[in-house]
Each structure stands twice: as structure tokens, then as C-alpha cells.
């Protein structure tokens, strides 16, 4: 969190409205956030507070209604669709809340796909990289299976492997442990933490899980489309405990 560094994600006064027919649903209302390279940040908040919406904006899969979203120093509003796609491919890894695997491809092929799109590695290198990640998420023996032959937790891990396989600078994870038992969840968090420490990968993940929040070096608390505060994980835990008492 060195002050001299420029942020990898910089969000300024961002609002996001969804329109459902004539009704406008405000999902984010004036959000400011800066995330610096190497940070391991958790976004916490009740259901419907806008966590997924925020991650979608950072991940360049959606556009803000107003405000500025900059990723890797680039104002996403000013990028062409092609440049945005390249940003998603080369800079960002996204673990979606609902996995979103390609059903007709095997586990191996799903994880390999971003590498194919990148066209940087040859076949052998791709295989090494994919197998290494599948080992790490504990799915090496399932490489030939199709997503529909896996459990929810296993699919989640394939999604994790796919997001990490390109070694992106920035990994966005929408409730990455929600479908996992605590052991596997812990394992995935350890893996992310390891990447964070070894490679300096920036992680932004949303979660409900206090244990997961423990690992974050900062917790951004979101409520009703607004950022309440940005605190250390210990403070967040205390706040949550206080909130629980308050109820």
C-alpha cells in the first residue's frame, strides 16, 4: 500500500442504476475506491448491497451509469470494446458468483481457454500451466470431466483455476468460497494469498465469510450501494460482532 504507487483500480463517484422497465434500481450511489497493486481486499456487505455490481464494473463486464472507473491506469469509459476485451484477457481474472464454465468443454479445456485466447504459450507450456493450477485446486484427476459432471464446489474451483491461469495482475472474485466446505474454502484462500504474496497479484473479493475476511488486509464495507468505510479486517470483525450484538 505504498503511497508512491499508482492504484491499479481507481473508482471515483461511480453510480450504477439498473432499469427494470420503468423502474430504476440504484445499485451503486456514488462509490469512491482506490486499490493499490498487491492489496488483498475484501468487499463485505449484506445481500443486495452492490458487491457483484461493483466487481462487474471493475472487471469491465459492465459499464457505470456515471463516474470514472479506471483499471490499470486506463479510464474504462475511454477504451474501445476491443481494448476492454484485451484488458479482461490480459490484466484481469474474474471468478464469477455462478462459475460460468463452458459446458461443452472439459475441465482442462475450460482452464486452458484464456491461454488460447492470449496466444502467448505453446501447447506444452499451456499443459504445464493448466495442470499445475488443477493440482493446486485439487482437480488434477478431473481434467477430462465436463462441468456438469462436477459438484458445485468443484466447479467453483475450476472457475478459480481459470481465473488464475493467466497470472493476471488483478483477480476479482465474487464470493469465491460460498459454495465450498470450510476446508476447501480455506485451501482456495491460501492459494490466493500465496499468489498475492509471491507474485504480488492484487485480489478483490466479495464475501460474507468472516474467516475469509480475516485474510484480507482491508475490508471495504458496502451497504445500500454506498461504501460505509474501509477498515482493517480486525476492525471489520469487531464491527460485525457489534452489529450482531445490536440485533
Amino acid at each position: 500500500m505504498s503511497a508512491g504507487q499508482s492504484p491499479i483500480v481507481s473508482i471515483f463517484d461511480v453510480t450504477k442504476d439498473y432499469s427494470l422497465g420503468k423502474v430504476v434500481v440504484p445499485a451503486l450511489r456514488g462509490v469512491d475506491l482506490k486499490v493499490f497493486p498487491g492489496e488483498f481486499i475484501s468487499i463485505a456487505g449484506p445481500s443486495g448491497s452492490g458487491k457483484t455490481t461493483l466487481l462487474n464494473l471493475i472487471g469491465c463486464v459492465d459499464t457505470a451509469t456515471a463516474g470514472v472507473v479506471s483499471v490499470a491506469g486506463q479510464d474504462t469509459k475511454k477504451l474501445t470494446e476491443k481494448e476492454l476485451t484485451n484488458l479482461r484477457l490480459h490484466t484481469i481474472g474474474f471468478i464469477f458468483q455462478s462459475f460460468n464454465l463452458v459446458s461443452v468443454l472439459s475441465v482442462f479445456q475450460n482452464v486452458e481457454f484464456p491461454l488460447l485466447l492470449q496466444r502467448k504459450l505453446n501447447k506444452a507450456e499451456r499443459k504445464d500451466r493448466v495442470m499445475q493450477l488443477l493440482e493446486q485446486v485439487g482437480l488434477a484427476q478431473h481434467e477430462k470431466h465436463r462441468p456438469n459432471e462436477l459438484s458445485g464446489g468443484q466447479r467453483q474451483r475450476v472457475a478459480v483455476a481459470r481465473a488464475l491461469v493467466t497470472r493476471p495482475q488483478l483477480v476479482l472474485a465474487d464470493e469465491p468460497t460460498a459454495n465450498l466446505d470450510s476446508v476447501t474454502g480455506q485451501h482456495i484462500i491460501d492459494l490466493m494469498k500465496e499468489l498475492n504474496q509471491k507474485e504480488g497479484t492484487t485480489f478483490i473479493f466479495s464475501t460474507h465469510d468472516a474467516k475469509v475476511m480475516n485474510h484480507a488486509n482491508a475490508v471495504v464495507r458496502l451497504a445500500d450501494g454506498k461504501i460505509l468505510d474501509r477498515v482493517t479486517s480486525a476492525e471489520a470483525q469487531r464491527a460485525m460482532a457489534a452489529g450482531a450484538e445490536g440485533h
Partner: protein, 433 residues
Amino acid sequence: MFQLFLIAFRNLGTHRRRTLLLGGAIAGVTALLVILQGLSSGMQESMLRSATTLMTGHVNVGGFYKLAAGQSAPVVTSAPKVMELIHKEVPELDYAVQRGRGWAKVVSETGSVQAGIGGIDVSTETGFRKVLQIREGTLDGLNEPNTLLVFQQQAEKLGVKVGDTVTIVAPTMRGINNTVDVRVVAIAANVGMLSSFNVYVPSATLRSLYRLKDDTTGAIFLYLKDLKQVPAVQARLRQTLAAAGYELMDNDPRAFWMKFDTVNREAWTGQKLDITNWEDEISFVKWTVTALNILSGLLISILLVIICVGIMNTLWIAIRERTREIGTLRAIGMQRSRVVWMFLLEALTLGSLGTLVGAGLGLVVCTLVNAAQIAVPKVVAVFILSETLNLAVSPKVILGSMLFITACTTAISLIPSFLAARLKPVTAMHHIG
């Protein structure tokens, strides 16, 4: 790229029912297209073959000989010389025959028919053997003098069988009727309307009927290897015949029997040659061909529109179902253009496989129909100049149909895939299909 193929291919496999439906539709249209085109060009082929063999060459050197104003005969004098010139000047020639022309009444004991009399040297008329089906007697019977070939329809009207004798009564330009007795040696199966206004006798018989010299004939019929060469040959013949000193009539695209009035009114006497082509002589065939073309073109267009709409619809559904997948692929960094490519490949694969099956199917149907010798209704036979259905199958048409349908389905699939690729990744991902 390989991965794109893989996804495309797997998708086809995963959605087996839709793939089969769509592929089946594509195969069906291709087969129909092949069959319809085969039907249309088959009819044209047999029509042209029958009509040109029996009534006109591809190119004709005919003409008129005039004794005096008002007295003209449709003949070519010194035919062997002209024939010699033709053989020298027309390398495109398949074969050439001389054909006597007359118009007379054939009278039997119980009836009579009015008909054009063709004077033929049956040994040189190679086309006759392909076009005519002899139901009674033989074609070779016409090698003997004073013999006659009639069609079934005429034989019935005259009440004659092979071996019976009939009288041909021909008015001449001198105003008297010449007659000759001929023996029926062959009765041919009807060839549509042609069988009501043509009979054939040996050249010598026709000459004796009209008291013509041995080197005189009605016209010389040229059969070319390729119909496309007709205009070139026609033009060349005009030049060379004129250069060789023959008098030529002005080009007049009408049948010879429509020109008597014009010729009689003109002042010249002696021999003039007239060069025409098959379209001039049998314009009714041309009209039938045109009508047939328009009809089949219309039918095929309607069919294609219906099928295109169907295929488009199915592809739309397919792409809507897969919008989530498109969203995911776009979200992990797949460019729009590659998404479109993926669908293109899918459509291309489906299209080429479907059309391949369809072409095979069409081919089988055409072959079966041809082998079955299916009889057509009389009204149809009158126009297509054939009693059985004949479907032409040419590799060009089949390949053309395949390419066309594949191109159509691929082009159609572009629209929905473009639209799907245009969606914001998140919109596509959350799409409920």
C-alpha cells in the same frame, strides 16, 4: 482456431435434437433444390433434344427457290455443295443432315391427317434413334423407298398398322396435287405436340412427290456439339456462304413456313439461302422453356425464403440459448469477432454436412425417378415432348446447390451471432435462456 472448431463442433453434438432438425431442414432443401433443378433442366433437355432432332437443326441452312413471283418452294438446290462447304467451315459440327420439307395430307381408308412431311436419310439421322421410341416396325424400314413413319396418335387416327399403305397427297406450287403411295414401316411413341404435325418418309420419296432433282433438299440441319456455339456458327455461315457466291435472305427469326408470304411478295427469282437457328424454327419450345424456367425459379425462390426464415428462427433460438456462454467467453477476454467466427464455423459445419447429405439424397431420388420411367400426364407430355419424366443431374448443379445453401445458412447465422456478440458481457451472462 482449433478450439473454436471444437466448441462449434461440441455444441452441435450437445444440442443433438436441434442439430438434427436444422441439418435435416438444410439437407431437405438441398435435395429439393437438386430435384427441382433436375426436373426443370431434365425437361428442358429432353424437350430441346426431341424438338431439335425432329423439327430443326441447331442451325439450319434452308431457303426458297422461286420460279416466278408468287411461286416459291422451300428448297435448297445443289445441296451436296452446300453440305461440303458446311463440313469444311464448321468444326463445331457434331453431324449434319439434309431434310426434305413438305406439307401434305396423309390419307388412309378410314381417315386422314394433315402433317409436315420430313424427307430423311434415316442412316444419317443419328438423333432419331435416341429420340424416338419405335412401338411397331423399325426405323431401318425407312431405308426402302416409299415408306412412312408415323406416330401412335396419327396411326390411331388413320387406323393403320405397320404394313398398311396410305396415300400422301401434296398440293404443289403449280396448283395441282401430286400423290404417292407409301407403306407404314414404323410407328413411334408420341412425343408431345410434335407427334400431331410430323410424319417422315425417305428423302427420295419426298423428292419424287414434289418432282425435285436429286441434289435438291428442303434444308440442311446442323447439329453442334454445344448449343452455345449457335450464334457464332450462324454468323460464320452467313459470311462464308455469301463469300462463296450464294444469295442470302435477310436474317428473319421466324420459322420457314411463316415466310412464304414475304418471299412471294418479293421480286427476286431463283435460289436464295436462309440461315436460321432452332429458336427461330420452334419458338413454341423456347416459350415453354422460358415458362418452365420462370415457374421453377419462382418455386425455388419461395422454397428458399421459407427455409431461410426457418433456419434463421432456429439459429436465433440456438444463440439465445447460448447467450450465457457467449457472455462468459466475452468476459474472460474473447473478442467479438471471434465469437462471430465461432458461430460462423458452426453454421458452416452444419451447412456443409447438411447439404452433403441433401445432395446425396437428391441424387438418389433423381436416379430412382429416371430408372422408374415414370409416365407424365398427357397434358404435360404435350409440352415437354416426352412421355416419361427425366431428371437431369449435373455435378455443376449439385455443387452449386450445395454451395448456395451453405452460403445462405452461414450468412443467415451471421445476424443473430452479431447481435449476441454485441451484448455487454454481463447482460449476456445473466441472460435467462
